[in-house]
Symmetry: C2
Subunit: 143 residues, 2 copies
Amino acid sequence: MSKNVTSIPLSRKLITTLIKKGTAVTEAISLNLKEHGITLQQFNVLRILRGRKGKVASLQDVSKNMIHANSNTTRVIDKLVDKKLVGRVQCPTDRRQIELTITDKGLKLLAILDKKVDDAEASLTENLNETEMSLLIHNLDKI
Amino acid sequence: MSKNVTSIPLSRKLITTLIKKGTAVTEAISLNLKEHGITLQQFNVLRILRGRKGKVASLQDVSKNMIHANSNTTRVIDKLVDKKLVGRVQCPTDRRQIELTITDKGLKLLAILDKKVDDAEASLTENLNETEMSLLIHNLDKI
DNA sequence: CTAATATATTTGTATAAACAATTAATGTAA
DNA sequence: TTACATTAATTGTTTATACAAATATATTAG
């Protein structure tokens, strides 16, 4: 069966909705972090590092897992190091690489932020039940 | 029935997926516009103005309909005026307001861009059928 | 009519992001 | 070993965005 021509406007509606909701959600989450002087990018880096459970991560490990894998990762991490939330040392076996870890201070802050972000995320999705959420995730992954 | 506690990680997964997909889609669409020196914001303004079908729009009309309703709308429009894609005149009855219209050159460019963007949007959603797209839109609107 | 208030747009400034180029260290082939 | 290529991270620069303040015009209360 051939693709229905009316699928073009529907795909436009879907993409537009996705961009708008994505932006709105980003802003809603960011708002909770802002009071603590943390950006969404910085928050993601902290979460990635905590996920390492003590093992070090290189800058490119982090960069790959970020929403935007870009060349500004160094500067995002600079801010976290300045705030003593992340430790950065040169890798002894390959001195091109750096080894990143989350500090105790970072873990403590993250615990506070997580609570706020979890609440915000729960609030944003309060009109959806679990089945709907699972289906949304499943179908969003087809895009 | 009380809310299941496992809904918290599911909501996190959903929000994370939404942010990532929203970003990816934004970039994919932007890529098509970039070759023509147009940003997504500028493209949206052109579409909004075309939607007016000849009637003028004020800056705040445009700003309200943009993904980011912000104080930088003036500068986005500056670029479009520079490129002669949009006309800007002072409103005679209320000189605080400006009257914006899309030019013929703007309409011609938009016709080209629309084609590319429609194709990109169709391609992005090719793994979804109409029922799935409708449901996605419906459920995203609950967020 | 004048002062105060409200509204529409613009401008200034600091921060963030995109993109390209550079530096430093390592790996590899003659 | 030495030159060349590759990899990892950093830096420079331009453009975009967020947020606050300023400007210009219009409206309203007295």
